[in-house]
């Protein structure tokens, strides 16, 4: 069974009866068995997957209407609620939490007969860039298992690139879908803020994060977006996309499109191989008829500091509900006083989450809010103004997704600021709410490099067209696993 196919290819084959869903899912489960000990993408695997696959085969054979996914196996980052399933956020604080409801994206995919093959690994509560902060052990980069796969949606990227599933849903707060997608050589998408409902996504920084698909091809991402985007009454921050069809006219190309190269994202500290790859991508785009020119976004220099200040504040508040009273892990309440119980229970947060909570209590506090939190909010406003101005002149903006190659596990874990700066090219899209995509572009010394494109708010369709155009110019070697 060939697992190395895209979602659209799988659906075509399943629809025509050329492959049985049961066989495909069975082969997928075998693949997970054979490689996941090494890669550790999965936190849990769905025991009912084969049964669900058989049911879909039955539906196909009997001519009954089948959902658009035709049983395709999808992995879900473990911070999204699937009813009656463990949802841990890779944290000991939630190691016993069984979600009592489905996230909106999950209900939508369930209706379309997707199969959730398992929940995948992440940095604890989505705070991290490498999946090294998972309480259940790191995931490994399938291109080179001594290197990080990126994060926080590390498990998502690993499972897709190593053919343990056809696609995945991750979440992107500061680059958490695009960064691992770039490090593992898959497509990773962060939509316009509000395009995809966050109901059922366990919040980290709710004013800037979005759920996003990780897939093998840009068309697959467009397909997923068609299924999960759209206004949701359960999420007041969702916006109306008028049922846009993202697959339609995806082959339009980018003739005449103006693309801005963000100066601050190709500055000092960029790896020379990454710079070379970026220049190659720009040539390719020019070859397709685009016009590329440099543009400066001054606030990018402050974007990382602003990002971590804002997200720590929101995280400190979003994670306050984990007091272990209604959900969490086993720790009886007898014999404790309220404050001492909670303070002890919350020791189960990992060290990185604890650090962010302390920062999150500090930067918006009465004596310090003016210097840190309020300033960060103002940087966010000014950056938004700058990028809106840029989009008056340009249709798209380009930069490498990450300024450096995937690094070794353990290399940056003790150097917080150096780790922060890995995000410098990705946080802008989150702070400004703009859609952004990472496309796998090149492999250098066995390590992947991704290129990022951004568009203005609600221009997701055009962004996907551009990404698809660039993707068509790329051929990549096979993954060595």
């Amino acid at each position: 069974m060939n697992l190395k196919i895209s979602a659209l290819e799988f659906i075509e084959e399943a629809k025509n009866g050329n492959i049985s869903v049961e066989e495909f899912v069975s082969a997928t489960l075998e693949r997970i068995n054979s490689v996941d000990d090494k890669l550790h993408a999965f936190l849990s695997v769905n025991d009912n997957a084969l049964d669900q696959a058989r049911n879909i085969d039955k539906k196909i054979k009997s001519g009954e209407k089948v959902g658009d996914c035709f049983g395709m196996p999808i992995s879900i980052k473990d911070n999204m609620c699937i009813k009656d399933t463990k949802t841990t956020c890779a944290s000991k604080m939630l190691e016993n939490f069984v979600a009592p409801y489905d996230a909106t994206v999950i209900s939508k995919l369930k209706k379309q007969d997707a199969i959730f093959i398992g929940k995948v690994n992440m940095d604890e509560f989505a705070m991290g860039l490498t999946t090294e902060f998972s309480a259940f052990g790191p995931s490994k980069n399938p291109w080179n298992i001594e290197h990080v796969p990126g994060g926080s949606s590390g498990g998502s990227a690993v499972s897709v690139s190593s053919y343990e599933c056809i696609a995945s849903l991750g979440s992107d707060t500061g680059g958490s879908v695009r960064n691992p997608a770039s490090f593992c050589s898959t497509v990773g998408y962060k939509p316009t803020y509000g395009l995809i409902s966050r109901y059922g996504l366990i919040s980290y920084a709710n004013s800037i994060e979005q759920i996003g698909p990780l897939t093998r091809t840009v068309k697959d991402t467009a397909f997923m977006l068609n299924l999960i985007a759209g206004v949701d009454p359960n999420d007041n921050t969702t916006v109306n996309n008028n049922n846009e069809d993202y697959l339609e006219n995806i082959d339009s190309g980018i003739e005449g499109k103006k693309i801005g190269i963000i100066t601050e994202m190709i500055g000092d500290g960029i790896d020379p191989d990454v710079m070379t790859a970026t220049k190659e991508a720009i040539s390719k785009l020019e070859g397709l008829g685009a016009i590329c020119e440099e543009v400066s976004l001054e606030m990018v220099k402050y974007s990382v500091a602003a990002y971590y200040t804002i997200t720590a504040t929101e995280a400190g508040s979003n994670l306050a509900r984990y007091d272990n009273l209604r959900y969490g892990y086993e720790m009886p309440v007898e014999g404790y006083e309220f404050n001492s119980y909670i303070s002890k229970a919350r020791k189960n947060f990992g060290p990185e989450v604890t650090r962010r909570m302390i920062i999150g209590g500090f930067v918006p506090s009465a004596g310090h809010a003016g210097k840190y939190f309020l300033k960060a909010m103002k940087v966010k406003s000014k950056l938004t103004k700058e990028i809106n101005d840029a989009f008056k002149k340009f249709d798209l903006l380009i930069a490498p997704t990450v300024p450096i190659l995937p690094f070794k596990i353990g290399e940056k874990i003790d150097d917080p600021v150096s780790l922060f700066l890995v995000d410098i090219n990705t946080v802008t899209a989150n702070l400004t709410g703009k859609p952004a995509i990472s496309i796998p572009f090149k492999i250098v010394n066995g390590l992947p490099i991704g290129i990022q494109l951004m568009a203005n708010s609600m221009n997701d369709k055009m962004l996907l067209q551009a990404a698809h155009a660039l993707e068509k110019t790329v051929t990549l070697p096979e993954i060595p696993i």
């Binding site: 007041n236 200040t309 209604r326 309440v333 302390i358 500090f362 917080p416």
Partner: protein, 87 residues
């Protein structure tokens, strides 16, 4: 510069028992010092903006009970109360 006392104060505020505050001190100090860069951004006069929604798009006032018995899915409940430590 952030002091150990400030870190202790904040961890109490955030209800997290931190065993050895100095362990965190170094990393937290480094992170917060990095944020000092915000001072040179020159953004004092910026206004804070937020997305908007017209009142007509808000939820209609209707009583719709949740379909499951949610209390049964929670930890630490007795009868139908959630049990918490004494105040």
């Amino acid at each position: 510069m952030v002091t150990v006392e400030e870190i202790e104060h904040v961890s109490k505020l955030m209800k997290i028992d931190v065993d050895d505050h100095s362990e965190y001190l170094e990393k937290v100090q480094t992170m917060i010092s990095y944020f000092d860069i915000l001072d040179s951004a020159g953004v004092e006069s910026e206004e804070i903006s937020m997305p908007e929604i017209p009142i007509e798009q808000l939820r209609n006032d209707e009583y719709i009970p949740f379909e499951d018995k949610l209390i049964e899915k929670m930890n630490h409940y007795k009868g139908t109360f959630v049990r918490a430590p004494k105040m």
